[in-house]
């Protein structure tokens, strides 16, 4: 498989969900073995707009509504992938992984290893994550750290429309199982608080973002904020605010948790000497610890100040707006952490 970065050419302004659909459309046209499976992905077009228009274009043979039987239909994706098809299977909310986790981590993610590399499982598990709109503790989790913790699946987490397209294309073409986690808050949905960057230029035609390469979303010299998904936007907002105080923040968008672009993290921290990790997933045993360890494993001397983590404290996401905003890593907490590491 050859992976190319953005090809020069024309582009269109799309929301993140439309960019996802663009990738799916192009890949389904290119490769007849690609199909999409999940709940409400047909006539409804996906609860978060992940499949809008695909049914009309490709018909019910390739865009398939399933029963609420996650174990069965994710397992079906695995079996079809083993036989050479390229399924994209949607788990409506990442929060539902509990009902089908065995298929995911004991099958999808282990078959290649257990077969000594003889069997491939080229499937994509697409799933929505994240809170911020009072959907309560069972519908607001990120859980990308959980997927990333369990070996055998790649995990990508786009933050913007162009990456949503490029990473979906790469995920479909990858010969490994790839979990594609999209935060509802970056999708550009008409019924959710608008993130201004959730609509942006997306290259027309083939656009592949290599899995495992982070992106410097904003270059800066004073402090590195390593983050992903919706938090990239919060971090960029904070960086804009702090710039007026003469603080120059670098924002690194991980884009992919597995593989993790440790070089990019180390490169940025070597330049700035200061690290803040922002992650909407639970703090303990997760992404933020992994990023900090990436630096300290290499050389704790790279840091001129202790690293700070801004994550969801280890508490289920509360329903009431004020409580939810108190635990999510939002602007105020990110700004405080950045100012804090600059005190040293």
């Amino acid at each position: 498989m050859s992976i190319t970065e953005t090809r020069p050419g024309t582009s269109r302004r799309l929301t993140t969900s439309k960019a996802m659909v663009a990738a799916l459309t192009e890949e389904m046209e290119r490769d007849p073995s690609v199909f999409y499976l999940g709940e409400d992905v047909g006539a409804y077009g996906g609860i978060f707009g992940s499949t809008t228009g695909l049914l009309e274009r490709f018909g019910p043979e390739r865009v398939i509504d399933t029963p609420i039987s996650e174990t069965a239909f994710i397992g079906l994706g695995i079996g079809a992938a083993v036989e050479g098809m390229r399924p994209v299977v949607e788990l409506m909310f990442a929060d539902f992984l509990g009902v089908c986790l065995d298929q995911i981590y004991n099958h999808m993610a282990k078959i290649h290893f257990e077969s000594g590399g003889h069997v491939r499982v080229p499937m994509v598990l697409a799933t929505a994550a994240g809170g911020g709109y009072s959907d309560g503790a069972q519908h607001s989790q990120c859980l990308w750290g959980t997927f990333a913790h369990l070996p055998g699946m790649k995990v990508v987490v786009p933050s913007n429309p162009a990456d949503a397209k490029g990473l979906m294309t790469a995920a479909i073409r990858d010969d490994n199982p790839v979990v594609y986690v999209f935060h509802k808050g970056v999708m550009g949905l008409p019924w959710m608080a608008k993130n201004p960057r959730s609509t942006d230029e997306v290259p027309d035609g083939e656009h592949v973002v290599p899995i495992g390469k982070a992106r410097i979303a904003r270059a800066g010299t004073d402090v590195t904020v390593v983050t992903l998904s919706l938090s990239v936007h919060h971090a960029l907002d904070v960086a804009d605010t702090l710039a007026t105080d003469g603080i120059d923040v670098e924002v690194l968008d991980l884009r992919s948790l597995v593989p993790l672009d440790r070089e990019a993290i180390l490169g940025s921290v070597s330049r700035t000497g200061r690290l803040v990790v922002v992650d909407e997933d639970y703090q303990s045993f997760g992404v933020s610890g992994e990023v900090v360890a990436t630096v300290t494993d290499q050389d704790p001397g790279l840091l001129r100040a202790p690293a700070r983590r801004v994550a969801t404290p280890d508490v289920p996401i509360p329903y009431a707006h004020g409580l939810e905003y108190a635990v999510l890593p939002r602007h105020d907490r990110i700004e405080r952490a950045v100012r804090d590491v600059l005190q040293w």
Binding site: D40, E61, V99, Y133, G136, W191, L323, Y325
Partner: protein, 351 residues
């Protein structure tokens, strides 16, 4: 060949419910009152939900943020089933829980306060509308499809062990009856003869997926048979038929004969959630004529058990009770953000 065409057409084997004996007039009026209270409640939540979502529709904004699943049209299930229960019996509802909570006697003020995200709410504003927990009435619900079934087994197990005749009622939608937890629960409850009543609300739709595209049999009563327990399907959304079937199922459980299943073909009058434009739906024409409450009201009027004035009085009283709950919720304090990480563990837990 399409998946639809390939699906085996297994005929329904629903047991035709025995013609119920005419009900006591008082029970009939009570069933009506319960349904009216459920509907009034949903209308009030609907109004509060949409009061301040604008401009446009921002799901995270307003008095009641987040997803909202309302149950208008499904009141016959709640009224007919809960009429057989006391607050010592357990009810486990779904993501669409309000009608069951109202009919089971959950305190309206504290439930509404929870839905409004207030400190006085059932869950102190932590749970929200899909996660209502009321120890006083053994009421609970879950936002994860079918996952309310297994804990209901445990409640039934505890009731059985304590030597009482209390029962646990577990409710799902017909869409949920395709999730593994549903099947494991039927098997285990049957195996251990647990006092559980499984209730399936078949409103024809699982979000946008019609029943015929999700379910390999035309009746979940057939599935009950597969686990060796009684199953009944009520074909119309008639509260008296539900009452009769639920009465048999509850009596069966109370007398130590184990679980059974009642499926009711009911009606989702509104969207899956608020904001659902329902473009996929082809059964909305004339839906107002299928409203089970106005239909039942007519039955009672025809039987001279109600006159229009009494019916209006029932509606008015329901509205007042609901308005009181809404006022209470509205005036209740919001939780203090500094307490956002409380309640992860029991404070004086032994370890």
């Amino acid at each position: 060949m399409s998946i639809d065409a390939r699906r085996a057409g297994v005929p329904a084997q629903a047991r035709e419910p025995a013609r119920p004996a005419p009900l006591d007039p008082e029970v009939r009026v009570e069933l009506f009152e319960t349904m009216v209270l459920c509907r009034s409640y949903e209308e009030a939540i609907l109004a509060a939900y949409h009061a301040d979502k604008g401009p446009g529709f921002d799901i995270g904004k307003g008095l009641v943020p987040g997803e909202m699943h309302l149950s208008a049209g499904q009141e016959p299930v709640a009224a007919g089933v809960c009429a057989h229960l006391t607050v010592d019996d357990a009810v486990t509802a779904t993501h669409r829980p309000h009608h069951l909570a109202v009919a089971h006697g959950v305190d309206l003020r504290r439930m509404t306060a929870e839905i409004f995200g207030r400190e006085t709410g059932l869950g102190r504003g932590r749970g929200g509308h899909m996660h209502l927990f009321d120890p006083a009435t053994h009421f609970s619900c879950s936002g994860i499809i079918a996952e309310g079934y297994p804990p209901a087994l445990g409640q039934a197990f505890a009731f059985l062990r304590s030597g009482t005749d209390r029962v646990a009622v577990a409710v799902t939608g017909e869409g949920a009856a395709n999730q593994g937890a549903f099947h494991e629960s039927l098997n285990l409850a049957a195996l251990w003869a647990l006092p559980v009543v499984f209730v399936v609300e078949d409103n024809d739709w699982g979000i946008s997926v019609r029943r015929s595209a999700s379910t390999s049999v035309s009746s979940n009563a057939v599935r009950a048979a597969a686990y060796g327990i009684p199953g009944e399907r009520i074909e119309d959304n008639d509260v008296e038929a539900v009452y009769a079937a639920a009465g048999r199922a509850v009596a069966h459980a109370r007398s130590g004969r184990g679980p059974s299943l009642v499926e009711v073909r009911t009606l989702r009058m509104w969207g899956h959630f608020e904001g659902d434009a329902q473009g996929y739906r082809d059964d909305l024409d004339g839906i107002e004529h299928r409203d089970p409450i106005t239909r039942y009201e007519q039955v009672l009027l025809d039987a001279d058990l109600l006159d229009t004035e009494t019916a209006a009085g029932i509606r008015e009283r329901a509205r007042e009770r609901v308005a009181d709950a809404v006022d209470f919720a509205r005036e209740s304090p919001l939780p203090d953000p500094s307490t956002a990480t409380d309640y992860v563990f029991a404070e004086e837990a032994s370890s």
